[in-house]
Assembly symmetry: C2
Homo-oligomer: 158 residues x 2
């Protein structure tokens, strides 16, 4: 007879086998949301190991209002969509997706981390959340520097 864990892994989808549903769900449909801004982080940048590549920020309608107001209402979702940055021929083009990081505002539920829940999906795969219970140290610790802007680093532009 198979050990129980192996048996579960055989019959369950990856997303269900090892963790409960993440508190910050994969942001379905975000590729149609408002594109806020983009940036390329290159080798030598202090954040290269964590955030190297080209990233795009997307905001749902509630988050877009939040950027304007400087405070974000519950339900605001901001996506940090990171792709490999391919340098060739004096151009930078987009490669494979590295991860899809998400901030979800729920002032009560996530009171311990500034009202924001944090998650990141490796490779953009909804079945591979990588933050889980580590949001306070892995995400919020840096975001505290932006307390005056409701813990959000990015700003909108025209």
């Amino acid at each position: 007879m198979k050990p129980l864990l192996l048996a579960l892994l055989t019959v369950l989808p990856a997303s269900a086998a090892l963790a409960a549903d993440p508190e910050v769900p994969y942001p379905e449909g975000y590729r149609h949301w408002h594109h806020v801004k983009s940036m390329v982080i290159e080798q030598g940048h202090p954040l290269f190991d964590a955030f190297g590549g080209i990233h795009h920020l997307y905001a749902n309608a509630t988050a877009l209002e939040g950027y304007k107001a400087g405070r974000f209402a519950d339900g605001a979702v901001i996506v940090f969509d990171r792709l490999d940055a391919q340098h060739a021929g004096n151009a930078v083009t987009e490669g494979a997706r590295k991860d899809v990081a998400v901030m979800l505002k729920d002032a009560q539920k996530f009171a311990a981390t500034g009202g924001w829940g944090f998650e990141a999906y490796a490779g953009g795969d909804p079945a591979r959340p990588v933050v889980g219970a580590n949001a306070a140290t892995a995400c919020y610790a840096c975001h505290t520097s932006e307390k005056a802007h409701d813990y959000v680093f990015s700003r909108t532009r025209d």
Copy 2:
């Protein structure tokens, strides 16, 4: 008495003084459209003089269907939104807008240029179209290389 042209320039807005309304209008609201992809064109690239900087492509709903089909229906609009690329601290960030270039599909009206009308607005200013009657040489001549993809260079990605 002022010469007529000077008098006109004094009383008319810039958009009305020197040209009729452009055939390819400024794409109002495009910043909320679907973000197709992005690229950075750097010094040394053969297209740097014309297209250097960071650019984002946006598609309206009809154009997004066109990307999937490989053929674009009348009404499809694709925007090439070009910003200055600022290189500093091993990062590339977005600077001021250089221009907003537009393709509008109308197979009959623009039959001479592959069914597409072309325009570009300097600085993203609706009052400063810069292509006008030069679309065939300034735009379409290069786009003919993409005839098999309905004259569109870009492709969608996830």
